[in-house]
């Protein structure tokens, strides 16, 4: 019975989307979306606890045994990402109602929920599938719905941002599919586990190397690996608040998962991979992302863009751990997927509340002045999430950075340790800019105290509370991530 949940996890949101479009009622759409998100979370937790107890689950879709049929496969790593995605979804969905009602025209609202369900289905599908081409299809489902979500933003710049993301995103997905095509030519299989086995017997390695390059660049575009991050700031800044919160917390993280999957489960057993400087290149790009994107964030005027650049920097931390390639660093990376997802989710959900009360589409740093007096709880939440972004002890961000530093020390790369600390200091600068204006500047004349609506606020504060919770109780975050890292490095946990 339990193994059927693996398919249901994807099928449920996928079926909800057309249902919502047929009913064409925004209240029903919201109810269905929320119900689906909660159901996915329950299923994800049930599946994940089974995986952490008794090892990977496999499900043969349509009862065609792998490698001929499409296999859905859940191991420690994908279970971890599955929980992250459905957890974020179940925080964002109930919060969405007020935010969407405020930002999107009434006749388009049900469509937005339908797109959100499709995006959820795509992301969950990417996580559970064990088939390279099936992964491409889910990647495109998630991407196409993301482009629509972004284009629904209020300002006309949202359209241009969606268009640019669509061009780059499609190029990225096509690069991925070229890479998979080359691998298919060399191995004759699309099942990832089977592919890894057969790759070891391939003599002609040049197409395999080309495939590695295509997949790295393609997925790098989707996860906004520096310098392929150009689409991200505008997409995050001009999308509706709810879409930003959901995409920022999940979409890039699932792409990181795909990269991990290919690097460690497919390519790693191939002897030539060990001699390539992939790790070194990743470390270089990650360090560049951490420093430059953080610096850009310090000088950015638009609040959502500021935190979007901060996302590029934080993705740098995650890819840094992949480049360092040892147990501690990978644990840090995978933990940071969850911790940064929760932190950035909390920030964008809180900003959604500010946008709602400001009743203006754009939000500059100056607009936050006196926020602590106008919206004290929101400002408090921003401080907590900001601390987690910096990596102050006692917050989630600290835990993952701690493991990354341990990983860097293990490799003897002291300069990387210095860069991690320096980038965190720059994060202090941009978070402080926001906090200073929110707490020390007086509110604009005539502004009255009006907190965000309760539904939005409670979702936001719950996410902020998670930032603190994962800073103290690391049994799921680090425990799960350590299992996943051990699995990737080929040791049994």
């Amino acid at each position: 019975m339990l193994e059927h949940l693996l398919a249901l996890q994807v099928v449920l949101p996928l079926m909800a989307a057309p249902l919502i479009v047929l009913v064409r009622n925004r209240h029903f759409a919201w109810l269905a979306t929320t119900a689906v998100s909660y159901a996915c979370l329950v299923m994800a937790i049930a599946l994940a606890s089974r995986v952490f107890e008794s090892g990977p689950l496999s499900y043969a879709l349509g009862n065609w045994p792998p490698p001929w049929g499409i296999e859905y496969r859940l191991d420690a790593l994908s279970a971890f990402v599955l929980v992250l995605v459905s957890l974020t979804a179940s925080f964002v969905a109930p919060y969405a109602q007020r935010s969407i009602a405020d930002e999107v025209a009434p006749e388009r609202q049900y469509l937005m929920y339908a797109m959100y369900c499709l995006c959820l289905a795509g992301l969950l599908g990417m996580t559970v599938t064990g088939d390279a081409f099936n992964l491409f299809v889910f990647l495109e489902i998630a991407s196409l719905s993301t482009y629509v979500l972004i284009a629904l933003g209020r300002r006309r710049k949202a359209l241009v941002a969606a268009y640019q993301y669509m061009l780059l995103g499609t190029v990225g997905a096509t690069f991925y599919v070229i890479g998979v095509g080359l691998l298919y030519l060399m191995t004759g299989t699309l099942n990832l586990a089977d592919m890894a086995k057969r790759l070891q017997e391939v003599d002609e390695l040049r197409p395999v190397l080309a495939a590695l390059a295509f997949i790295t660049v393609g997925i790098g575009l989707k996860l906004a690996l520096f310098p392929l991050h150009q689409w991200l700031p505008n997409a995050y800044a001009y999308a509706p608040s709810m879409a930003t919160a959901f995409i920022a917390a999940t979409a890039t993280k699932v792409s990181v998962y795909v990269l991990l999957r290919f690097y460690f489960s497919v390519f790693d057993p191939v002897p030539v991979f060990a001699r390539l400087p992939t790790g070194e290149v990743l470390i270089g790009l990650s360090v560049a992302a951490m420093v430059t994107a953080s610096l850009v964030a310090v000088f950015e005027q638009d609040v959502k863009r500021l935190f979007a650049y901060s996302s590029v920097a934080q993705i740098g931390y995650i890819t840094l751990g992949i480049g360092l390639e040892n147990q501690a660093a990978l644990t840090g990376s995978i933990t940071h997927l969850l911790n940064h997802g929760v932190t950035k989710g909390a920030i964008f959900v809180l900003l959604g509340g500010v946008v709602l009360r400001a009743a203006a589409p754009g939000l500059t740093v100056g607009d936050l002045s006196g926020l602590a007096r106008r919206m004290p709880l929101t400002a408090f939440g921003l401080v907590i999430a900001g601390l987690s972004l910096i990596g102050v002890p006692g917050t989630a961000g600290f835990v993952s950075k701690w493991y990354l530093i341990l990983g860097a020390i293990d490799r003897g790369l002291w300069w990387v340790v210095a860069v991690i600390l320096a980038a965190s200091l720059i994060a202090v600068a941009y978070v402080w800019r926001v906090v200073e204006i929110a707490y020390l500047r007086p509110p604009p004349a005539g502004a009255s105290r009006s907190e965000a609506p309760l539904g939005m606020l409670s979702a936001a504060l719950a996410m902020a509370a998670l930032c603190v919770y994962f800073g103290f109780d690391t049994s799921f975050s680090v425990g799960g991530a350590a299992d996943a890292a051990a699995l990737l490095l080929g040791r049994s946990p």
Binding site: T170, V171, G181
Partner: protein
């Protein structure tokens, strides 16, 4: 007699031509055409190696021993659907951009955004 790897050379030509149009053109519609050419090249990459000269459809029958691989065709059928969906969405967004900005030229759109900011 066709030169060796002809289908691969054609694929690479289409791939690079598509990417070039995508990058070099400022017109949003022309960029989409480039994107479509680029995606189409991938169809060829999958389909061409699956075909054996003289091979038939993989149906077991007397007198046929060489079969073409049907799987790439199925995969590309899916990829074509994805490509059509992407192109449709791209065109739809372009229509909306044209309604909002009154132009589909990238430089003019950027100019109007700058004018907004001032």
């Amino acid at each position: 007699m066709t030169p060796a790897y002809l289908s691969y050379w054609l694929t690479i030509f289409l791939m690079v031509a598509g990417l070039y149009i995508l990058i070099a053109r400022g017109n949003l519609l022309k960029k989409l055409i480039g994107l479509a050419v680029f995606q189409t090249s991938v169809y060829l990459l999958y389909i061409a190696p699956g075909k054996l000269i003289g091979g038939t459809a993989p149906i077991v029958a007397e007198g046929f021993t060489r079969y073409s691989n049907p799987l790439p065709h199925v995969l590309i059928l899916t990829a074509i659907v994805v490509g059509v969906a992407t192109l449709a969405l791209g065109l739809a967004i372009t229509v909306r951009i044209r309604e909002a900005y009154g132009t589909v030229e990238e430089d003019e759109i950027l100019e109007r955004d700058r004018a907004d900011a001032e």
